[in-house]
């Protein structure tokens, strides 16, 4: 199946009750698939007038306790930032999918990873974070939907799946996990469903005028993010056990980097790959654990260098970090990555020779 369609099918199976979105290349297939398949299987699928309206519909739907989602691509995700901040501040669960394209501005319709900062560091205003899952295959495009809804409900927090245009468009085999939504749904006593006489009214809001109350809310949010860091951090390692040189890459870039690692190994370079799966919370500890064993780290991204900052933070200057990236929606080839890796290795060897 196509990545976008696999994601959409997974949403139906995960018990998503409402999808509110707007067409934008390269993810319109999600809306289109759901307009047919979703509606016929009981989902509310509404093509809104804009991404702004979409995210606010997600807010309303999440507030009544339903599993709801939206999807868009980079410029549309920019439009959603206000709504995302409100959703985080009101502590509402939902899924937001970004099938990134080249930017900034209207950019291109080709894939990119230029929205890392936006996704991981905030994007909208205020002290909130999104839990961000980065798939690197069509299978993960599907799998992460189930995880995302479960995590969103667990933490009462918005979750983002950060993919790119290539993942959205590529066709791969996918199998959908056995999943009974009824077994995964959690009680939401805070939802606005119409107040029975047995309880006080529920209010969904992110407005807290008294500073002490606002601080309390912020502390609660930060504690959530700490818990996420403790329990939900995920990454994958490929041939890192004896690696001298480490590549850190996520999503599509990680698949390309994996190819480069295999080629490097064939040339006698002991390379390895660490692929962050959650971009927030970031697998800082896993990277730090490798710092003592590797001589150099190469970060590969389809942007001008965003995740590299988190890698540097994790390494705390103990290991040199190099970057290889392409912008404009150009996908680097394994050869290019191998070239960057080899260059790093050679520079390192040169350095050793100079010193000794």
């Amino acid at each position: 199946m196509k990545g976008n369609e696999a994601l959409a099918e997974a949403a139906i199976r995960a018990g998503c009750r409402g999808y509110f979105g707007y067409p934008i290349t390269p993810q319109s297939e999600i809306l289109e698939y759901l307009a047919l398949e979703g509606r016929s299987r009981g989902m509310i699928v509404l093509q809104a007038e804009s991404e702004v309206a979409s995210i606010n519909m997600v807010y309303g739907g999440a507030g009544v306790g339903a599993r709801v989602m939206t999807s868009s691509s980079s410029p549309g995700i920019s439009l959603m930032q206000e709504g995302i901040s409100y959703i985080a501040g009101a502590e509402l669960p939902c899924l937001i999918v970004n099938v990134s394209r080249g930017g900034p501005g209207l950019g291109t319709i080709q894939p990119s990873q230029g929205d890392y900062f936006q996704a991981v560091k905030g994007g909208g205003h205020g002290d909130y974070r999104l839990l961000v899952l980065a798939p690197s295959s069509v299978q993960e495009m599907a799998d992460f939907v189930f995880d995302a809804f479960d995590l969103a409900d667990k933490y009462r927090s918005p979750v983002m799946i950060l993919a790119d245009g290539a993942l959205g468009q590529m066709m791969e085999r996918v199998s959908f996990r056995e999943y009974d939504p009824a077994a995964h749904l959690v009680a939401k006593p805070w939802a606005t469903t119409g107040k029975p006489v047995t309880r006080e009214r529920n209010i969904i809001t992110s407005l807290h005028i008294e500073p002490e109350k606002m601080e309390q809310i912020n502390n609660r949010l930060q504690e959530k993010y700490r818990q996420m860091a403790l329990h939900e951090t995920r990454c994958e390692e490929f041939q890192t056990a004896d690696a001298e040189y480490l590549i850190v890459a996520y999503g599509l870039a990680a698949r390309i980097a994996q190819g480069a690692v295999e080629m490097a190994r064939a040339q006698g370079i002991r390379a390895g790959l660490l692929r962050p799966v959650t971009l927030f919370p970031y697998p800082t500890d896993a990277i730090r654990a490798l710092a003592d064993r590797v001589r150099g780290v190469l970060v590969v991204e389809m942007n001008a260098g965003q995740m590299i900052e988190d890698v540097r933070l994790a390494l705390e200057g103990r290991v040199p970090v190099r970057f290889y990236g392409r912008t404009g929606g150009i996908i680097p080839s394994p050869d290019e990555v191998l070239g960057a890796l080899t260059k790093m290795v050679n520079e390192d060897v040169l350095h050793i020779e100079e010193v000794s």
Partner: protein
């Protein structure tokens, strides 16, 4: 109240009106004489009379009435500025048997929220949209609104609104009424007892139409802003009747056949 000894022939007086039980104990923070208070009260009287307190969900705007959820004893959501009708759309689509309303001022509905307003009505969402139009941005200190009259002084039109600088007052209600998704469009006010009675009827009708899934009910309330207009409440109501009604005449703008 102490009980006085009454003369044998003094009449027994029944209570014929008291504050609706569907308002919370929290008293309104609005300025003296502000129309918001009347609209909140009338809306909750209607909810009480219809017995739908447990099935009603409201969406509050950004503006003076951002704290509406502190006053109305129903489940409520606070929306981002301008987005109340989008939020209400999702609530209604997912809970179609509840009574859903959005409550917005003129900036919320006719400036930043214009797209959401038009499209919610265009989709004929089965909700009640309440539009409180006092031709000014009260909460932020009295700036010009899309509905501000030509020549009207506000903090951002200190010498009076001019067409050259700021265009024309926006008659959004008439625009909305042209859409087939708008089932019932009514413009009201709350400055006289008769006007208040009319508003209440309009609200009761709107909830009935919502039950019958007829489409969007859109009620504008031309209202005052004594603080922003720098008048007493009585002066403000008189000014409103004299100056705003010619442009925004109360009446039934679109009624079902």
């Amino acid at each position: 109240m102490e009980h006085q000894t009454m003369q044998p022939d003094s009449p027994v007086l029944e209570c014929v009106y008291s504050r609706p039980g569907t308002l919370t104990e929290t008293r309104f923070h609005y300025c003296p004489g502000c129309g918001h208070g009347v609209v909140h009260r009338v809306l909750m009287e209607a909810v009480e009379e219809l017995g739908i307190q447990g099935e009603t969900i409201g969406v509050a705007p950004v503006g003076c009435s951002v704290f509406a959820y502190n006053y109305l004893d129903i489940d409520m959501q606070e929306a981002a500025h301008g987005r109340a009708s989008a939020v209400a759309t999702a609530v209604k689509r997912l809970l179609p048997d509840r009574y859903v309303f959005s409550y917005q001022g003129d900036g919320d509905l006719a400036a930043i929220g214009t797209a959401e307003t038009i499209h919610t009505v265009n989709r004929g969402e089965n909700i009640l949209m309440l539009f409180i139009n006092n031709a000014i941005y009260g909460m932020t200190g009295g700036q010009m609104a899309p509905t501000t009259l030509i020549g009207m002084k506000t903090t951002t039109s200190p010498l009076g609104r001019t067409v050259e600088a700021s265009g024309f007052p926006l008659k959004i209600t008439e625009m909305v009424a042209t859409l087939p998704g708008a089932y019932y469009v009514s413009r009201n006010s709350v400055h006289t007892p008769g006007a208040v009675r009319h508003l209440k009827k309009a609200i009761l009708k709107s909830f009935q139409y919502q039950k019958e899934k007829r489409g969007t009910c859109f009620i504008e309330v031309v209202s005052n802003c004594p603080s922003g207009w720098k008048m007493t409440p009585l002066e403000a109501n008189r000014w409103m009747a004299e100056h705003m009604f010619p442009l925004y005449p109360p009446g039934e703008i679109k009624v079902p056949k």
